[in-house]
Assembly symmetry: C2
Homo-oligomer: 215 residues x 2
């Protein structure tokens, strides 16, 4: 697949881009906000495109043109103001979903947050972040695209273990290395068992490939 | 109709409650956040119920029980932090939409904002507010409820004139007294031409009842 990565400069995004770039199966186009980020990527031989998630949808649609799949892993995270959360994590995500549909990129993978689907289990301290993720996911599910929503627990910078728990409803908190999130996202691209599915993800005992077959 | 008003203590909300209370056609239940607000209403002989839009959906469902219609006119407005905007204007609104459906209150009227449907025309200064209104409206339109979305322009405290322009797409900015918004909402309750419709609203030359028939 030819895959557009929105949020390619984030920690998970960088890992996804690297995996796709090294893959025999896929090719990657990295979407970033700044010229210098694009230059850095191009130096490494990676196809990069500039588009701002707070800008007009047309630029994103142009970026998605010719791609088979879009991965959305951009995000202001829980630490920025909720203004940015609304504009990037919600409206930026939905512009990307709409742009993917309009550009004919039918496969869409969203990096969401553990239990974003379940209002009762939102982390009180970053409740506004969960609201944004929740509604972006809802729009994706109603979009008609062939989606997968990956909802990781607390994100760690530790090296990946390659082993996870992936389940539609993990009510216990947990964490997972960003590298394993990236591997899960890339593995999901062609794993049909994840098509039109959403699942929570934390570190566990099962190989990622196997876990995705058993979600 | 027996009508629940969410946001009954707001300026538009108070006016809607007054109109419904004085109406021969409708009865009203005013939903407010604080005990003292409920007491004030009860002193005036108005049925009041306490539920917090930032709290659990169950309380709102209980409030909506037995009602035929729900009017959502709560809102943090453009002036509060975007944290509250996300939690009240978006998630609070959607909890109310879901609660109405679950309680069997099939008719739902949303007070939205001029051109909230049209990303290109959002007011840059309160863009986060438009994001919240936009997605709440989208959820309502997909809810299966018999909705009307009223999208007023700049809100004035001037006395109502009873005359408006109501149209599916008003691209020019305009303003409208809160009293006329309230009258439009109350008149829409039983005006079948507004069922499953969304429209912009500013001050104009046409009587409200007539304008609603011609949206």
């Amino acid at each position: 697949m030819h895959v557009l990565v929105a949020g390619a400069n984030g920690k998970i995004g960088q890992n996804i881009v690297k995996q796709l770039h090294n893959s025999d199966e896929h090719t990657v186009k990295a979407m970033v906000r700044k010229e210098e980020q694009a230059e850095e990527l191009k130096k490494k031989g990676i196809n990069a495109v500039i588009a701002n998630l707070e800008g007009r949808k047309e630029a994103i649609r142009k970026a998605a043109k010719g791609c088979d799949a879009v991965i959305f892993t951009a995000g202001s995270g829980g630490s920025t103001g909720s203004d940015k959360t609304l504009l990037v994590d919600l409206d930026g995500a939905v512009k990307t979903i709409e742009a993917a549909g309009e550009a004919g990129a039918d496969r869409f993978i969203m990096v969401s947050a553990l239990q974003a689907n379940n209002r009762d289990n939102w982390n009180e301290k970053i409740r506004h972040y969960y609201v944004a993720k929740h509604y972006a996911d809802r729009v994706l599910q109603a979009s008609g695209l062939n989606y997968t929503i990956v909802r990781p627990g607390g994100l760690l910078n530790d090296p990946g273990t390659g082993k996870v728990i992936a389940s539609e409803n993990l009510t216990e908190r947990g964490s997972v290395p960003r590298e394993d999130v990236a591997t899960t996202v890339v593995s999901s691209l062609t794993e049909e068992n994840t098509y039109k599915r959403a699942f929570d993800l934390v570190s566990g005992e099962m190989e990622i490939g196997e876990a995705l077959k058993k979600v």
